[in-house]
Amino acid sequence: MASMRRGSAIVAAVCLLFTACSSGATPSPSSAPTTAASATASASSAASASASGPALAEICTKPPKHEGTTVTFVSYGGAYQKAQRTGWLEPYSKLTGVQFAEEEGTDYAKIKSQVQSGQVTWDIVDVGNDFGLDANADLLEPLDYTLIPKDQILDGFSGTYRVGDITYGVARAYNTDKMAGQTPTGWADFFDTQKFPGKRGLWKYATGGVFEFALMADGVGPKDLYPLDVARAIKKLDTIKSDIVWWDTGAQSQERVGSGEVAMTMIWNGRGWSAKHTDNKPVEIQWHQQILTADYFVVPKGSPNKQIAMEFIAWATCANNNAAPSNSIPYGPTNKFSKPNPSVIPDLAVSNVDDSTAYFDDEYLVKNFDDLDAKFQAWVGQ
């Protein structure tokens, strides 16, 4: 009894400490920049300190059993979904007897058509940062935060309908053979084709970071990006327009920087890692001025296995389970107390957070998507 009480006192103290650090836990991404420091703190403490963090809820170690029930899990496929399978789905099946029917290829339009037609077959869907906000409220179930450890999730990475399951960085990768011995350091160098000749890769998507990076290259601080000054961003982008090679898929960005078709590219950190370690190409990633973002779990409205979906999401976002996929792919945890394997920590976006790190204001980007996209398309196709 006594030891238990002492334990809970420590837990309470740690909780207080983190609440103090994180300056209020409002779940809006716009608050994220102010918490960059706390994210670093938690990431490094996760790396160094051994026994910190609140006690695990029962669901984290003993999730309820549902022998023979099949739940549909949908994610982006490939190595990513494989990491989620070995990290989460397979252990969860062993613990609870829940079987997972997997589909590869998250598609928001499919969620919408399932919900609209009343034929919902997807239970747990891994979606990008542009989905799961209030704009999609009529497509999604509100998450059960009596189960999910919301106060342990990085600030800004949980909302009514979604909770971050993995973090990643939108960063820069460069081909070392194309740099003539120099090392680029920030987005300003990305835009400097005099100093670093060669083509540049950017994602052909208005709200994927292209405006943000142009603004950072132009001297805007990572906390002052929103509302986006599109005119200023476009003016900056214009300076390298003829050198831009636009990519549509992550695989293209990885392949092009690896082959040297582009000298530098904007890249999702996992793709940069694969270019270097899987394809064995002369590629380096740079975290300076990265945008830290996440993939999220959502539950489509009317999911036939809503309760189990909530239990699984709670289990997978627990400190002891959340970092499991990072053992096979460099996508880090969203739980502040989760401890990734020390050998993978240098490759995780969340462990490379510093003062230069920016965060998407998802609410702003989704709300203004049509306007931003119209301006982007009007410029890019000129």
């Binding site: 704009a135 090679v245 549509d248 040297g260 049509d370 119209a374 398309q377 009007a378």
Partner: protein, 301 residues
């Protein structure tokens, strides 16, 4: 015998005679499939374009169409879509017509080989072929590397991400659809006509221009319409081989339907605009040629 009966039946229908064929019910599954798989979705998309609007937006009947035509990029992309489709048709015709002609004048065995040569690419995946072009044409690709190693160029030539690379990729995919209808028509042209023209004193060139070309015209029209209409729906090939300047409307439809606010209303309006424009082109074409005869002539043995 059988063909004669079929033809009689056809001509009977054309003059408004009764359809009295007990085999007609065999077409029912196809009709049902077309109704469910094509007609219903078409109606749904048409309805959605005038009923589904983003939250808090204008909900008047034509609001989605207004939004479409208000977008500077949308109109440009629509025009570009038709422009690229036109150019692909011209390129396919320029390559396909001589090719089909060659097939008619060589020995049957070689004609067979030529046919296989045009069909083989048709059987391989569109994506594979498109990415293959990228690997060949890009700055670090085979062509540019070879030129560089031979010392012919110092900097890579801009082979990729231009309109010509889009046309290259698209025409390679669409070429069989041009060659086959033209070849079918050409084979039916009686070689005696050419001889008759020569007997009457026409030079080979003149005989070709005045006799053979007009007789092969239905094939040209059939092939061109097929290629043009299919080219309108392309978007992956222009996205991979072209620059954003070559973006086609289907890419925008996908973008609106699957990202952001899942704006199916606007995406549907785009689809309707594209379908409407394609029908308008067919309508204009039908003022000059009898579209029905063009396709009908294909299956007359």
């Amino acid at each position: 015998m059988r063909f004669t009966r079929l033809n009689l039946f056809r001509s009977g229908r054309r003059t408004g005679g009764p359809i009295a064929n007990r085999w007609a019910w065999l077409a029912l599954p196809l009709i049902a499939f077309l109704a469910i798989g094509f007609l219903v979705p078409l109606v749904v998309i048409g309805a959605r374009s005038v009923t589904e609007f983003p939250r808090g937006g204008d909900t008047s009947l034509l609001a989605n169409y207004q939004r479409f035509f208000a977008g500077e990029a949308n109109v440009r992309v629509l025009i570009n879509t038709f422009w690229i489709a036109c150019l692909s048709t011209v390129v396919c015709l320029a390559i396909g017509y001589p090719y089909a002609y060659l097939m008619t004048i060589v020995r049957p065995r070689i004609a067979g080989l030529l046919l296989v040569a045009v069909l083989v690419p048709f059987w391989s995946s569109l994506l594979v072929r498109t990415f293959a072009w990228e690997v060949i044409l890009r700055d670090t690709g085979i062509v540019n590397r070879t030129l560089e190693i031979l010392g012919l160029t110092s900097a890579p030539l801009p082979l990729l991400r231009e309109t010509h690379s889009v046309l290259l990729g698209m025409s390679q995919i669409l070429l069989p659809l041009m060659v086959l209808p033209i070849y079918t028509i050409m084979r039916r042209i009686d070689s005696e006509y050419g001889k008759a023209a020569a007997n009457l004193g026409a030079t080979p060139m003149r005989a070709f221009v005045r006799v053979f070309l007009p007789l092969s015209f239905p094939g040209i029209v059939a092939g061109s319409l097929l290629v043009f209409v299919l080219a309108l729906g392309f978007y992956i090939t222009p996205a991979i081989l072209g620059s954003p300047k070559n973006t086609m409307l289907s890419e925008f439809i996908v973008l609106k339907a699957t990202t952001g606010s899942l704006d199916w209303g606007l995406a549907s309006a785009m689809a309707v605009v594209m379908l409407g424009s394609a029908l308008a082109v067919l309508f204009v074409a039908s003022r000059f040629i009898r579209v029905r005869d063009v396709f009908g002539s294909l299956d007359q043995g």
